[in-house]
Symmetry: C2
Subunit: 345 residues, 2 copies
């Protein structure tokens, strides 16, 4: 399978390293992945017979400008060239997310699919804005649009809904979808500290960003919930349809009181189909220890589906970091290689 | 997709009912399933253009002898006819399990695969005895052998390992794999009753069988653990390689003492790869409330994988009963229809 990486940041580098580390494993499974292009913001690398991943992984440890990579690095190598040459089977779209326009990911994904190239993406923007439209283009061109990395990375939330519950109708989705907020709450529980002290620690550890707004005010959870809802419940909702609350008002006394009752706070994203239509919200909930999401600790994530014929399904996992995120990209790539296709929607 | 049901018991009947109930849903997903044969112990039904499932579901409510079904019922309709006619794409093998010889399932599965017919089975016998050999025949003939129903029915334990962890290597498998024993322990916790009172209740409710040996002495858990281990860790172990203990010696005092400590007993099947090789055992374990399997209550089941690149994955679910079991067969059928194939082993 010939691939192109579009957008070469932390996850892209981890993916190249993974292709090195998993070389023998992939070979033993008869999965042949050849990296023909890496496209960054200043240019790219193109080697028609495949970039030597080992060399690129070493190069990337010290050097940011991939146009200097030999052989194949050049300022002239860009996404247009990938399409013009027509020598890849799949692109990995990992450019920075823009939730207003979806660009440049939106154009990359659309054009690749129209050119009968599979797309695997970690880019939430285009998926939030236009999943249904993009998936229609994929189906029409008999290729796949794989989005596992957009809703929890290593947590197989999309696969869980599409493959593990195939033939069932999902009536509700509920999840601990953001590892950063879960870590912060966990710290408040274990250290009996304030929200701000806990946030500061998360920032020091590189778990929370300098501007943590998207995480702590619930918008990252809302984005993932929205994608899961639109994809798995066949909807076309937008972020405006979700009532969103974050964790910034959580007091250490609330956390301590809950612990005394044997309960734990979690930031829960939830979609329920009711007689009045779909209800979607993100808010703090106090879970009893019998609740399947009670044990989702630290940076872990989880999702719980209720279905008509296959009952309840709770999936807990989703190791954080660039390597698990890259591994979730590789997972999608292998499943496409195996021939899995969701052409039923 | 043209199918044959081989072995028409409770799950077979539930599957026919499901094909009735899900008719519009399947049509909306462009999944066309046509039931050409039902084969029972005394003969079968054959309708070249498809059996009317609605009529068969009604018929089966009162009548056991399917050879009386009109049109198509006959004592002359058998598995050989299915192969001779060559007019099905998949068989659903659901004959009674024999863990010594695997027959008659072993022959059905082997011959179907050799005739380039997909196989979906709920029959543990042949899978316990010869999964690797059977899957090689499937790969050679470019068809699928789907076994999701053999390791927890609605619980997507096999999918979880193959698809959700694609590209990862599984280093340990741990699960609450038997709903009956989990129900019995749960009753002992909630009613503070003895093992025997709890077993009696499970039998009255039809959850435990009249002879509960396979469940309560741990052999059902061991069988499922063995299949998961051989399939997902690429092994060829047998039941003799597993150290098996059941729940029959569990005392109500032990259960009460554990609850006081905030812990719960679970019958855990576990495979771990160690420096000395594979360790496999089934035994009662006392879990803390932070353990991901702590919240697996009543008839629920769960499995937890540890992998190299995708971290931990815990899957909780698996509604019990014939309908969820049939729904797990339908799930495998739909995933085969979608084109998913695991040809990588």
């Amino acid at each position: 399978m010939r691939i192109a990486i579009i957008g070469y940041g932390g996850v892209g580098k981890a993916l190249v390293q993974l292709l090195v580390d998993k070389k023998h494993y992939l070979k033993s499974k008869s999965i042949d992945i050849q990296l023909n292009y890496v496209i960054g913001s200043r240019g790219g690398i193109y080697v028609p017979k495949g970039i030597e991943c080992n060399d690129l992984a070493e190069f990337s440890k010290n050097e940011k400008d991939i146009t200097k990579f030999i052989p194949g690095g050049s300022k002239e190598v860009n996404f247009d060239l990938v399409l013009r040459n027509g020598d890849v089977d799949a692109i990995i779209e990992m450019t920075p997310t823009n939730k207003e326009t979806g660009e440049p990911g939106m154009s990359h994904i659309t054009r690749a699919l129209e050119n009968k190239i599979h797309v695997i993406t970690s880019n939430k923007g285009p998926i939030l804005l236009a999943y249904k439209k993009l998936n229609k283009i994929a189906i029409k061109n008999n290729v796949q649009l794989a989005i596992g990395c957009t809703t929890g990375g290593a947590l197989p939330s999309i696969n869980g809904g599409i493959i593990d519950l195939a033939g069932s109708e999902i009536t509700s989705i509920e999840g601990v979808l953001n590892g950063t907020t879960n870590f912060i709450i966990n710290e408040m529980e274990e250290k009996a500290c304030s929200y701000y002290d806990s946030l500061k620690k998360a920032q020091q550890l590189g778990i929370a960003e300098t501007d943590p707004t998207l995480d702590v005010e619930g918008w990252d959870t809302a984005s993932k919930l929205l994608i899961l809802t639109n994809v798995l419940m066949n909807e076309e909702k937008t972020l405006k349809d979700i009532k969103v609350e974050g964790i910034t008002n959580l007091k250490s006394k609330d956390v301590a009181d809950a612990l005394k009752e044997g309960k734990k706070y979690k930031l829960i994203g939830k979609t329920t189909r009711t007689v009045h239509g779909l209800e979607m919200n993100v808010k703090l909930e106090k879970l009893e220890k019998e609740h399947p999401l009670y044990g989702v600790n630290a940076k872990n994530k989880a999702v719980r589906y209720v279905s008509d014929t296959l009952g309840e399904l709770t999936i807990i996992g989703g190791a954080s970091g660039v390597t698990p995120a890259a591994a979730s990209i590789l997972r999608d790539l292998i499943n496409i290689h195996r021939g899995y296709r969701d052409c039923s929607n």
